[in-house]
Symmetry: C2
Subunit: 478 residues, 2 copies
C-alpha cells in the first residue's frame, strides 16, 4: 500500500467510522451468529499474493461485522460497558500511527511525561489521596496482580522474588464472596494458592462485613497463617456493591495488611463529589485501580493503577539489563518497572484527549445522566407488581428478576428469567446479561454506554414487558 | 464532539497521518528533549470546561510531538523495531471504533474466530508444528510468564494454583546468560524466585551450550532440586544468537522439562524457508512465542503464543464466575482462560489486514530485503580496519564497535563507543542502542524498520564514519 493509497483508504475508513456511529442503532446489539459461522467463511490458507485493500475491507463488512457484538450500541446494557468516544478514537489513530514503544522514558519521553500528568489530573478530578502515584496498566486484572505481588514482596522484604515463596509462611488473602474473578486468578499466579483466599460474607447489600473480616483474620492468625492482603471492592461486578473501605482499612492498619481497592468499574463515579462517600478511607489503601476504559469513554485498554509507595512497586518488578540502560535512568519514570509487561502502548494520549474534550464538567454531566437513567429504569420496573429487585442501585446497575405470582420454585424462576434474557438478546434490540445473587438468577442492566439516552431505556422497557408477556402467555401464566 | 465534527476531525487526522509518513525523515529519530521538558509545559490542573479539539490537536503537534521518539522512522536502528504498516493502522482504526471487548466468544464471536484463523494461518506461513494451537497475547513478557506458570501447574498436577507453591519442591529454571529480562521477571512473579534461575553459559556465538545445560540439570537433580523448565531463545536481544532448539529439546524430553522457545523478534524470519533451520526441533517445545508487533508490520500489541496442549494452558488460567457463563461455553474458545487478563482487544483484525495486504510473498520480500540490507551494512563496516565485529549476524542485527589501534584499555574503548553512539543519536539523524557482549560495550544496529531502504543505511554509514573521525580528531587519535 502506497502513502497515497493509505490516505485514500484512511478517508474511506473515517467515513465508514462516522457512518457506523450514525447507523449503529440499526445493527443487532449482540451478534446473531452461531459458533463456527464466521470461522467457516474464512479461507483455510493464507494468501500468497497481496490482496487489494478494497477487497479486504469488503470482507470485513460482509464476513466479520455480522459476528461483532456492538459494545458501542446505546442499547448495550450487558456486563459493564467498555466505552469509547470520538476523541478517544482520534487518540487511538495517532497512537497507532506513531507506533511508539513506551517501555522506558528514552524510547518516548512525551508518553512517559504525559502519563505522569494525566494520572495526576485524575487524582485531582476524583478526590483521590494526594499521596497516591499513578501508572497506566492494561487491565484491572493486571493491576490487581501487581498489587498482590507487591504485597507479597513487601511482606517478605523482597525476598520471595529472590528465594521463591516459602510455603512455611502461609499467606492468606481476603476478599468478599462478591469480589471479581481476577482475584482468584491473581492468587494462583502469585503462587499463594486459591485455598488461601478467604471469601468474607457480605451484608444484605452485598458489601463485605468488616466484623466477619476481623474474625476471619483473627482465626487465621490463631491457626498460624500470615494474613497478607485484603481486596476491597467498590462496585462489585454482580451488583456494584460497595465494600466499606474505611472500616476495612482500619482493620488492615491494625493487622498490618496490604489494602488493595478495586474500583474497576465504579471508580469513574468518583468524578462526582456526591459519590465520594464511596472512597471514604481510601487514604488507608496501599493500592487502588479503576478503569477509564469502562465508564470514562476511553478506549480499552486503559486501567489507572495508583499506589501509595511507588518504590515498593518498582522494587517488585525492576529489571535492568544492559540493553535497556540509558543516561537518564535516575531522573525519569521508566514505566517498564511499574508492572508486568516490558512493552507498552502510548495510552496516555487518548486519555488526555478525552479529559480535555469533555472537560471535567462534561464528564460529570455524562456520568450523572447515566445514573439518572438507571433510576428512571428502576422506578419504571418497580411499578410492576411482578418485578423483584435483588440488590440496591448505588450507581447505574439495576439487578432484578421477574417473579410471576403463579411460579414459586427457584428452578422455574431461573428458567423463566434466563429465557426472558435470551429472547430479548436474540431480538438484537438490546443486550443484557445475568449473574447470581444469594443463589438467585438475576438480570443485570447496566446503563452507562457513552451515547445512551432516555429513548434507549424506553426501548429496553418496552421490549422487557412485551417479551415477558409473550413468555407468560406461552406458559399460560397470563 | 458531534458525529459531524468527528468525521471532519477524522479526515484532518488521516491527512496528518499520511503527511507524517511522508515527512517522517525530516524529524529527529530520537526525541531531542530533556527530562521534564514535556511535563513542565502541561497545565497543573485538568480543564473544567470542554476544550476545542482543534486546540487539543494543536497542542499535540506543538507540545507532545517533539517528545516522541519516532519508531517508524526508517533510520530507527535501535533495540528491535516495533513496526506498524498502513494496513495495520487501518485495522487499529476499526478496532478502536468497534471498541469490542473480546474476553469471551459471546462478547465478540468474530474476534474469537478470526483470532483462531489467523493463528492457524501463521502456523502454515512459518512451518510451525501442526500440533501447535495459538492465541494472541499482548507481549512476549506475558506469554513467557504464561509458559512458566503452565509448566509450574503441569508439574504439580495443577495443585500449586490450589494449595500454593510448596517450597519443598525446589523448582529450577534454565536459560542462557543471554536470555531476555522477561524470564527474570516471570520467575519472580511465579513465586519460584530468581535464585532458582540457572543462566547457562553460551558458546562463542552466544548460543546456549547444551552440554552445559545437561550438566547443570544433572547437578541440580543431584542436589535435590526439581528442574522445571528451559527457556531457549531464537534470536537473543543482545545479538540475535540462536539457541540450538533440537538439542535442548532432547535434553528436556530426557528429563521431562517444559521447553519454552522465545522467538519474540526473530520468529518473523520463519516466513523464509531458508531460515527455518532456526526452529529445527521446535516440535519438541511445549510453548513458543513470537511478536508480529516487532518485525511483522503489525502494530503493538500483538504477540503470537503457541502451545502444544492448550488444555494445560486453559486449566492454569480458567475461571468461571456466574456473570461470565454463556450457553455456548463448551463449543467455543473463550480466550479469557488462555492468559492473565480478562479484557482483550480485537487484535486479530490488524493481523488479518497485514497478512492479506502484503500476502505471504510480500512479507517474505520485506524480510529478505532487511536481511540483505544488514549484510550490505556488515560488508561496508567490515572493510574498515578499525571495526571489530562482536557477534555473528544470522539475521538483521549487526553487533560491532570501533577500535582505533591507538586505544587498548577497555575503559577507553567503552567511552569512545558510548560517545560515538550518543553523538550519532543526538544528531537526530539515526537512533541506535548498545549492549554488552562478553563484557564489551557493543553497538547494535538492527535493520528492520518497515520502510528502511539502502539510502537509509548509507546515511547511517556516512554518519558513523563522520562522527568517528570527529571523535578521533578531538582525541588526537587521527
Amino acid at each position: 500500500m502506497t502513502n497515497e493509497e493509505f490516505r485514500n483508504f484512511g478517508h474511506n475508513m473515517v467515513d465508514w467510522m462516522a457512518d457506523y456511529f450514525q447507523q449503529i442503532e440499526s445493527l443487532p446489539v449482540k451478534a446473531q451468529v452461531e459458533p463456527g459461522e464466521i470461522y467457516q467463511q474464512l479461507p483455510e490458507l493464507p494468501p500468497e499474493e497481496a490482496e487489494s485493500f478494497s477487497q479486504i475491507f469488503r470482507d470485513f463488512q460482509t464476513k466479520i461485522l455480522k459476528g461483532i457484538t456492538h459494545w458501542q450500541h446505546p442499547n448495550f446494557f450487558a456486563y459493564f460497558p467498555a466505552n469509547n468516544s470520538y476523541p478517544s478514537i482520534l487518540g487511538e489513530m495517532l497512537t497507532a500511527t506513531l507506533g511508539a514503544q513506551c517501555m522506558i522514558w528514552e524510547t518516548s519521553p512525551a508518553a512517559a511525561e504525559l502519563e505522569q500528568k494525566v494520572m495526576e489530573w485524575m487524582k485531582q478530578m476524583m478526590g483521590l489521596p494526594a499521596e497516591f502515584t499513578g501508572v497506566i496498566q492494561d487491565t484491572a486484572s493486571t493491576a490487581t496482580l501487581c498489587a498482590l505481588l507487591t504485597a507479597r514482596e513487601s511482606a517478605t522484604d523482597f525476598q520471595s522474588n529472590k528465594s521463591g515463596l516459602d510455603s512455611k509462611t502461609k499467606f492468606t488473602v481476603y476478599c468478599s464472596t462478591q469480589t471479581h474473578s481476577s482475584i482468584d486468578k491473581a492468587i494462583k499466579i502469585a503462587g499463594i494458592g486459591s485455598d488461601q483466599l478467604r471469601k468474607i460474607p457480605v451484608d444484605r447489600d452485598f458489601a463485605m462485613r468488616p466484623d466477619a473480616l476481623e474474625k476471619e483474620i483473627q482465626t487465621d492468625i490463631a491457626l498460624g497463617f500470615h494474613p497478607l492482603c485484603v481486596v476491597a471492592s467498590i462496585g462489585t461486578t454482580s451488583s456494584t456493591a460497595i465494600d466499606p473501605v474505611k472500616k476495612i482499612g482500619e482493620i488492615c492498619q491494625k493487622h498490618r495488611l496490604w489494602l488493595h481497592v478495586d474500583g474497576a468499574y465504579a471508580g469513574t463515579a468518583m468524578l462526582l463529589p456526591e459519590k465520594r462517600w464511596i472512597i471514604e478511607g481510601l487514604e488507608l489503601a496501599d493500592s487502588y485501580v479503576f478503569n477509564p476504559h469502562k465508564w470514562m469513554f476511553t478506549n480499552f485498554d486503559c486501567s489507572a493503577y495508583y499506589v501509595k509507595d511507588e518504590s515498593k512497586l518498582i522494587r517488585t518488578f525492576e529489571i535492568l539489563p544492559e540493553y535497556l540502560k540509558t543516561q537518564v535512568d535516575k531522573q525519569v519514570n521508566n514505566y517498564r518497572d511499574w508492572g508486568i509487561q516490558l512493552g507498552r502502548r502510548f495510552r496516555a494520549l487518548k486519555l488526555w484527549f478525552v479529559i480535555r474534550s469533555f472537560g471535567v464538567k462534561g464528564l460529570q454531566k455524562k456520568i450523572r445522566h447515566h445514573i439518572e437513567l438507571s433510576h428512571y429504569f428502576l422506578e419504571a420496573i418497580q411499578k410492576h407488581p411482578e418485578v423483584e429487585l435483588l440488590a440496591p442501585t448505588p450507581l447505574n446497575l439495576v439487578c432484578f428478576r421477574l417473579k410471576p405470582s403463579q411460579l414459586s420454585s427457584e428452578e422455574a424462576l431461573t428458567r423463566l428469567n434466563a429465557t426472558l434474557m435470551q429472547k430479548m438478546n436474540a431480538s438484537g434490540k438490546v443486550y443484557l446479561t445475568h449473574t447470581k445473587l444469594n443463589g438467585i438468577y438475576t438480570l443485570r442492566v447496566a446503563i452507562g454506554q457513552t451515547h445512551v439516552q432516555k429513548e434507549n431505556v424506553d426501548q429496553l422497557l418496552n421490549l422487557l414487558w412485551k417479551t415477558y408477556e409473550e413468555i407468560k402467555s406461552s406458559l399460560k401464566l397470563g
